[in-house]
Symmetry: C2
Subunit: 328 residues, 2 copies
């Protein structure tokens, strides 16, 4: 199931595991003039394999997709933002959209598992299984000392990036978010605003991920991330309880107004939509607001500029307001 | 019918005629130690009369009413704001609430007719009829040269103040309101913001009235006022058409958002309520917004601090939001 479907986004929104892999004896994509041959090799390793993977994936040549279609895939986190305007790239996406194998991004293979909620171990096991199937037909570039070799040395070693997306509106409302970002960074993890950067994240969505890929095992990386994420979730829960205890009327008013604007505005920018939907997600999780036709998280994803189609911004803003009115 | 009931407030909201009268040979109220005797005389002239008036009016001794009850009467424009905290004052109100006879305000008698819409001639004729009935039993203080004598000389002559309440949101949105107030003032008429003063009027409600009561006949005063009011109504109509032509999307968005906030806020000040309800009145009259359970104008009157009861302001704000959510 795609990560944002029927997902009530109660703090831990989604989990992602990404493995970077390269085919032995072949230059990295940026130094590779003919990307077709190695693409074909990897495609066959997945689709012609005798494992269960064969029937699960669909191959998409991104050169044959419009910029809008590619942007929509990026909004769903099925390709990386760089792949919106890339060349010679492709992706294999599983039917349930939890797995995507990007080809000819920075590395030959970027295998990604994305699931709703906090599910680091499950996602890692799935990634491992797919990785093993590919490795049955392909030799990876691997070094005894450095582990998996990657185009950028920061990815070498495990080649793994594990990340959890967290919805942290109460930590923002209580002015704790900057402090928390600093201490997470100090622990060697990275915090990224999902829309907008750092403390200016629109929609209060933050992605916490490991920075180091070398010198720790996959299991160690996941355990460290899990422990920090659990602490942040706990802080967000406490901040919500505190707000409800001290400022329930203020909160009901603020979140209700955001819902009212989403219900009755006639035009809306994507930045405003994300901010208001963040309030609605919080309100629904606190039991202040009722759930709509579509999950509020899905509304946030679908209200992106790419999903709203390629018209003029003003037309998109009208279309977005209409979409949100009907679905939130 | 009370002026704000089922009134869609399409620019001309209400019309008011007020006549100031004093009983011959009796000091004005501010110099009168025993107000009881003259009050009784006037009360009898109305209630004991053999005319149709007798059954129409109810007598209210304001000394027996709480400050909140008196404030609510003032919000309905059935007594003047000064009477909220006065002493020895009373009022006779007609069952349909279109007529009120205030006793021992600045003058012995302040007879007021208030109707919805623009109805200067009708209101004046009604006032005249009631005035005649009272005069059958009472001699008024009257001077051949100065006309009706009043406590304040600015009311002498006809003793009449005629006024029309106009809802002028488009003239505010197009930044024309200050200019119009200045030219109306220059024509010898007075413009008052109904809630807040002048150009800072909350709710875009303006009362246009005659300044001069001496030297012109009642008919002349009414004709002059009518002609200026007709012009302002025309300007507001043109401003609305202009906005709909040039900025329909902006208008639909702005008015829709105001409606959404009224529908989903949990707490609301009276100032904000008036501003948002003004948008809703405009939206309903432009066909952009649907009508609610109660007319938006009635919601504006009923959302006043007095109508919301005498609790703490924060409690009133919660009660007001609840009331508006249900009725707008």
């Amino acid at each position: 199931m795609i990560w944002y479907k029927d997902n009530d986004a109660d703090i831990a929104v989604s989990t992602r595991i990404r493995l970077a892999r390269n085919v032995e004896g072949t230059p990295f994509p940026n130094a590779l003039s003919d990307k077709g041959e190695v693409t074909e090799k990897i495609k066959n390793a997945v689709l012609a394999s005798n494992s269960t993977l064969a029937g699960e994936f669909e191959f998409i040549n991104l050169d044959q997709k419009s910029k809008t279609e590619r942007s929509a895939l990026a909004e769903e986190h099925l390709i990386s933002p760089q792949m919106i305007s890339g060349k010679g790239q492709s992706v294999m996406i599983s039917r349930d959209k939890t797995m995507s194998i990007m080809l000819m991004e920075e590395d030959h293979i970027r295998l990604q598992i994305i699931q709703s909620g906090l599910a680091l171990s499950e996602a890692y096991e799935t990634a491992n299984r797919v990785d093993d199937v590919i490795e049955e037909s392909l030799a990876y570039a691997f070094d005894e000392e450095f582990g998996y070799l990657t185009a950028c040395p920061t990815n070498a070693g495990t080649g793994m990036r594990a990340s959890v997306m967290l919805h942290l509106p109460a930590l923002r409302l209580t002015d704790n978010i900057s402090r928390i970002i600093s201490s997470v960074n100090a622990m060697g993890l990275t915090v990224r605003g999902l829309y907008g950067e750092g403390t200016k994240a629109y929609g209060d969505m933050y992605q916490i991920s490991n920075q180091v890929t070398l010198g720790l095992s996959e299991r160690e990386i996941i355990n460290k991330l899990k422990s920090v994420v659990d602490q942040i979730i706990d802080l967000e829960k406490k901040a919500r309880e505190g707000l409800m205890k001290a400022n329930a009327d203020y909160l009901k008013d603020k979140l209700g107004r955001s819902y009212g604007i989403l219900k009755y505005a006639f035009s809306m920018s994507s930045k405003e939509a994300r901010e208001l939907i963040s309030d609605v997600i919080l309100g629904q999780n606190l039991g202040i607001l009722k759930k709509g036709k579509m999950s509020a998280l899905e509304c946030m994803v679908k209200a992106s500029p790419a999903e709203m189609g390629g018209q003029k911004p003003e037309e998109r803003d009208l279309k977005r307001a209409q979409f949100l009115k009907e679905n939130i």
